[in-house]
Each structure stands twice: as structure tokens, then as C-alpha cells.
Symmetry: C2
């Protein structure tokens, strides 16, 4: 049995709308047809398990309600779909119980807020190949967050220009570096040339220091065959990670890649906001991330505290909890990646609000590369901020004998704290 919780909003009856979802998304049609026997209904019909009334909404989420409409009622409805009706195919689940619902008339808002999958899904998907333990093993970082940075500017650097920047970042002591998610394989920076320019620097540094920086190359491509060629380029050159734009390639692209992948798959969720930003419409991240973890995301970008985007801190905290809560067991969890406008100043609040854990990848772009003392000082400042957070020492106090953190506070502190 698959149980989905929908938050329904309607000027009509929430009970009728819940019944309509259950009917339309299983056996239903607009006129009775031959063949709809009680036995068939028992086999596949969805049914409403529970309805919990919520307070009325002030205004409709979709502006469809006719003028002079009455109260906008809201409720959460738990609807059960027999596993037999859907099976374990995620595209069937998406089609039947999720995607199709948004076409239903008579609602002024509809959001999928919870999803409970039965054990059968565990066996049907590969899940993360590396996750937290693989990411720790490959970076050699334990007992603190993996600290990462992003090559900027987002677009436009040629491979040799990127490689020069990357060389400096490698020397900074950072654990992880990624291509901006917008950088894939444009003509001015074909992935093949970028890999050829960057990987020798990673490997040289490993030879010299024993530390292999994890570099996530942007391998996404519309054509899965091309994406696999990109994957192979990275793997054959000794790389171990890739940025994957999950919404852009879609579930098919992700499934295809995961089956064949030897790389840590670092998911960027660009496009997700349109599915979630309006709180009355779409999906909670808690629901949507389940699909992608089953499909094999190892590292999941989920914004962070005090980001430059629209997303409120509370939403990040819930996303962090979502990706680190087992669907079936610990092995299906993804490593949370906090990013966007991070520089270390958000370490104490991130630590406090996510269960006092250092099991995350903490991504700082400008926060590292624009540090007044250069990237190495930027990395040290971020490490110091996390040391302070874990020790419950205020950053200002810790900065007194940690000059890199002090410089960070001076440069970035006014903007973000």
C-alpha cells in the first residue's frame, strides 16, 4: 500500500475532492463504463483513509475561484493506493498518484505533503551508491563537514582558465570543488578539455600530499548516451564525482546513469522551486526527494541558512531532515549539501538547527574565493567557524585568536548576520 497525503484547498467540499482524487487517479472516468465491477474496484481502487481539517485559507492559491466565492476550505487527506494498482515503477507512481492530480477541476490549491512507500520500493531501486560514508571515504574527511567550493564565474571560462583557478583552490586545502551547475559542455569549454585540464592537477596534488580533492564535473546531457560518455571521461581520468541536474535530465536520465555509474552523483535541483515555492501548490521537498534518493542521488543540494534565494531557513532545516531520514534504512540517505551565500557565518545556526551534526557538505563559493586573504585563508576561516560552532563558542570570540575567521567576519559578517 502506498499512502500519500494531499493538502486540498477548495471552495467546495474537501471530502468530495479527496474522493475525487481517489477515484480519478485509479478507476475513475467521467461516465460509468462497463467493466467497473466491485471486484475490479477492490483490486485497484484508491481509498481515502483520513481527512484532517485545517484552517480556512485567506485567498485561493490558484486564482480560479469565482468572484463572490465562500470560504476556502483546506484539509489534509491521506489516500491509500494498493501497491498492485501502481507497482514499484516511479514513473507510474508519478503519473498515477502525483502528476495527474493537478489537472483536477474544483480545487483552488493542491499540494502533495507526504508519501509513504512500502518495502517493495527498497528492492526495486539501487539507491545511493556512495552517500555519506562514500563521500567521507573518498575525501578522507572525518569528524567535520566536508568543505567545498564552486568555480566562479558560472559561465564563460575556457578550460585553461578554469584549471588555473582550480589549481589555486586545490592548494587552498578545500575538500571538494564543483563546476557551477550551469556549466556542462558548451563549445567554449567542452567537458573533455575541462577534464583534461583539471584532473592532472587533482592527481598531482594527491601524489604530493595524499589528499585527493573531490571534483564534481558537470556531466548532465539530454541524451543519456552522451551523459554516459561524459561520465566515462571523468571516471577514466581518475575523477570521482559529477554534478547532475536532476530535473533537467529527468527520472529516465538519472535511472540510466545510476545503473552504470562509478561516480559520486551530486544532485543540483534547479527547476525544483517552481514545484514548491507557492506553499499551496505542488510538492513538499520531503515528498519529491524520495524519488531522487531511490534513483541514486549521493549528495543533495538543499540550500542553507541565510541563502541568497527565496527559500526560508525553516525550509532548509526541513530539507536537511528529509534527506537524512531513512526511507527504509540508513543506506538510502543522501549527504546533505548546504550552499548558496555560505561563508562560515552560518555554521553555528546550521549546526544548531540540524541536530548538531557535522555530516554535511558545506559549499562556499564567494565565501572562500573572495576571502581577503585568498582561498586558503577562506577555507581556514570556514573550518574555524565550524570548530567554533561545534564547541558552542561565539564566532566573534573564536575569531580573537583565529585571524582568518576574523577577516571573514569583517568582510561578510555585516551582510549575512
Amino acid at each position: 500500500m502506498i499512502v500519500i497525503t494531499y493538502r486540498i484547498e477548495t471552495t467546495g467540499s474537501v471530502e468530495a475532492m479527496a474522493e475525487k482524487i481517489a477515484s480519478d487517479q485509479s478507476t475513475g472516468t467521467f461516465v460509468p463504463v462497463p467493466g467497473e465491477t466491485p471486484e475490479l474496484k477492490a483490486r485497484v481502487a484508491a481509498r481515502v483513509l483520513a481527512i484532517r481539517t485545517l484552517s480556512d485559507a485567506d485567498r485561493p492559491s490558484w486564482p480560479e475561484a469565482p468572484a463572490g466565492h465562500g470560504p476556502i476550505r483546506r484539509a489534509e487527506a491521506d489516500i491509500a493506493f494498493p501497491l498492485d494498482a501502481i507497482g514499484t515503477d516511479l514513473s507510474a507512481l508519478m503519473t498515477i498518484a502525483v502528476g495527474g492530480i493537478f489537472s483536477i477541476r474544483g480545487m483552488t490549491g493542491l499540494r502533495v505533503v507526504d508519501l509513504k512507500l512500502p518495502q517493495e520500493y527498497k528492492a526495486a531501486y539501487l539507491g545511493p551508491q556512495f552517500g555519506l560514508p562514500g563521500s567521507r571515504r573518498l575525501t578522507g574527511v572525518h569528524d567535520r563537514p566536508i568543505i567545498g567550493t564552486i568555480v566562479k564565474p558560472a559561465l564563460g571560462l575556457r578550460p585553461h582558465e578554469t584549471a588555473a583557478l582550480v589549481g589555486e583552490l586545490i592548494e587552498s586545502g578545500v575538500d571538494f570543488i564543483k563546476d557551477d551547475e550551469k556549466l556542462m559542455s558548451p563549445a567554449y569549454s567542452p567537458l573533455k578539455e575541462r577534464v583534461a585540464a583539471i584532473m592532472p592537477r587533482i592527481l598531482d596534488h594527491e601524489q604530493k600530499t595524499g589528499k585527493k580533492v573531490m571534483y564534481a564535473f558537470g556531466i548532465s546531457a539530454t541524451d543519456p548516451d552522451e551523459m554516459m560518455r561524459n561520465h566515462d571521461l571523468v571516471l577514466e581520468a581518475g575523477g570521482n564525482c559529477a554534478v547532475v541536474n536532476i530535473n533537467s535530465i529527468g527520472m529516465g536520465g538519472m535511472a540510466f546513469l545510476r545503473k552504470r555509474s562509478g561516480l559520486v552523483l551530486h544532485a543540483h535541483r534547479n527547476g525544483w522551486d517552481v514545484l514548491t515555492r507557492h506553499p499551496g501548490i505542488g510538492f513538499d521537498f520531503k515528498v519529491w526527494q524520495q524519488f531522487w534518493r531511490l534513483l541514486g542521488v549521493d549528495q543533495f543540494q538543499i540550500n542553507g541558512i541565510g541563502v541568497k534565494y527565496w527559500e526560508p531557513d525553516e525550509s532548509f532545516v526541513e530539507s536537511f531532515k528529509a534527506v537524512t531520514t531513512p526511507l527504509f534504512d540508513q543506506s538510502d540517505c543522501a549527504l546533505p549539501v548546504a550552499g548558496s551565500g555560505q561563508w562560515g557565518g552560518q555554521a553555528p545556526e546550521t549546526y544548531r538547527r540540524t541536530g548538531r551534526t557535522t555530516d554535511l557538505l558545506y559549499l562556499c563559493g564567494g565565501g572562500i574565493v573572495s576571502h581577503p586573504g585568498g582561498p586558503a585563508a577562506g577555507v581556514r576561516a570556514v573550518q574555524q567557524a565550524w570548530q567554533a560552532a561545534v564547541a558552542d563558542i561565539p564566532l566573534e570570540t573564536y575569531a580573537k585568536d583565529h585571524p582568518e575567521l576574523a577577516a571573514s567576519l569583517k568582510k561578510f559578517g555585516s551582510a549575512s548576520e
Copy 2:
């Protein structure tokens, strides 16, 4: 150059928001970084071409505006991205210029309303393999709409039950039959068994009458390899069409399938509504359908007049125009598929409002199978409705000497007209 038109909504400056989209989605970051030279900017930076002010909105689309906010300003902004910055990869286009924008802070609504792709995209994608001409050739239907029906109930029939219904539908004279999009390959009706039960009936009928009914089997699967096995089952059994749930399989699944496909690909867009139903957020269909046509959709479901869903008629009319307007030339057009609650009564308005064409697939579920005289009478009633529409004869008049149409009008007419 790729030109995208965004409809921006903000309590701030629309000009600033347009500049922010251009900057964030190409070179931008939250702090200036080394490497952002004027030469680099010229190579890849997006730029605002034009801004057209619209009337203020009554309320924010996303309920993010702070209490006591001022007027909600709206404008359409045309932004040009150099082709070099993105290339011709659709997942790069989606990531850079579309998906990423919805995370930007400071807007209360944002919608992509137009997209103009340069000629280079034509060569980069296969596009539709069959489209209108292939659909006409394979069904042998010319000079009137291809008339189709859907096997109902949506879920729960076993293969022999489905095949029995299909046998009756084949005899009805219908041109096209499809699995409900929710039916893929569940345990109670594995695709392999469904194909084995149905295809002999299609082929027998062809042997006897010369008419091969086009049957669209639900082949969607999360794993592209499995989807290809499904495709092959249909093709090897003599089938010629498949229902593909494009949003569920994603662009990767679709690209993979199209490269290897020998079937007419009939797209169901379930899930699309969440991207478009709020008029201030997401995508116009006009934009979104371009991705899928380039990827190879032959037949595109776009609702119809007087549907059972939320979508207004005007939106259907615009969608019809969208899929039949060449992106580059006629070969990239999809066959429009009108469906949902159709029974023939909508033929006159469909014909009148879509440029007086019969180049469409007209899908009637209950409208055919629940006709009082049975499916064959249902099919004749729909054909008669289209004859009347093309001849500009009111349905009531035409029904006087067309009893099947008369029975349809009596049964379905009160509900929909």
C-alpha cells in the same frame, strides 16, 4: 542567440529583476570574483533586450510580499542568451535559462512566456518521426479527424478483459485506441501479456478489412532500458504506437527512446498542470512544448473544448496553435490530440476555433463507449458531428437524419453544451 521572454512580477523594480535574471543565469554570483573580465562577459553574458510594462497585479502570485507592500509591478522582459553560453543541449537550456530562474529572490511571480530558438537546434534534434503525415498514413484516415478512444476503466482490467473490450472497440470502426496513461505495466496487466492479448485482434481485423487500428500501448518506465524493451515488445508484435508520459520519464527518457524508436510517440503531459495552472508562475505551454517536439513527440495531448479538467477553452486553443506552428519547418509540428470529456458535441467549436482544420486526433472515452447504441454507434456519432462541423450545419439540424448523433446529443448534450 536564444531569446526568452519572462513575465516578471515584483514589488521592487522590474528592470532590476530583469537584469538580475540575465546576470544570475549567466556569469553572476553574489560577490565579484576574479576572472570576470569584460571579454568573458561579452562571450557569455545574457542581456536584457526589451522590457514591456504591464498593468499592476492585484495580488502576488507567490504569497511572499511583506505585509504593507506597495504596488505589484509586472512586465515582460526579453532576455537574449548567446548561443555559445548554452549550446544546443536542452538540459543546459532548461538549467541555465529556465529551471534556475525560479529560485531568484525578490519576485512575487515569474513565468516563462516565450522562447525563440536559433536554427542550430533544428540540426541537433531528431524531432517527430511520424507527426501528422505518419499518423494519417498509418491509420489510412484522410480528410477528417482521426477518431480515437480510450480503454476504460483506467486501471484494474486484466489483459484478457482489456482485450475483450478492445475487440469491441476495433469492430466499432474507430481509428485509434489507447491505454489510459495511468496503465503501464502493473503486475495485474504486464505489458507483454496485454500486447499478446490485443495485437492479434488488431491484425486479424486488418486482415479482414484492410483497416489497421492504431493502438497506443503504455510503454513508459523509469528505466530507459526497460522502456526500450517495452517498445520492442509492441513493435515486434506488429504495433505502431505508444503512450509516453513525458514528464514522468523526463527529457533523458524521451531522448533515449526517440533515437531508437520505430513507434508513433503519443505524449501524455500529466504533471504539466503544476507548471502552468497558476497564470503568474511557471511556463506557458507554448514554451514547454518546444522541448518535447524537438525530442520527438508525434502526437501531443492538449485537452480540448469543454474538458472535465481545470483548463479553460482558450488555453486549449492556444495549445493547438502552438503544436501546429513550425519551430523551423512543418516537419517539427506535432499532431494535436483533443481529449477529455469529448463526444462530438465539441466538434463545431473545436473546428471553428482551431483554424477550420481536421488535422487532429479527436479522442473520446466515455463519449464513444457509453453511447446508448454501443461503441460503433458512438464512433458514427462522432464522425457525424465532424461532418456537420465542417459543413457549418448545426448539430441539432444534422442529427435529424443521423440517429447516432441524435442519440449522442440526447445523452451527452445537456452536460456539455
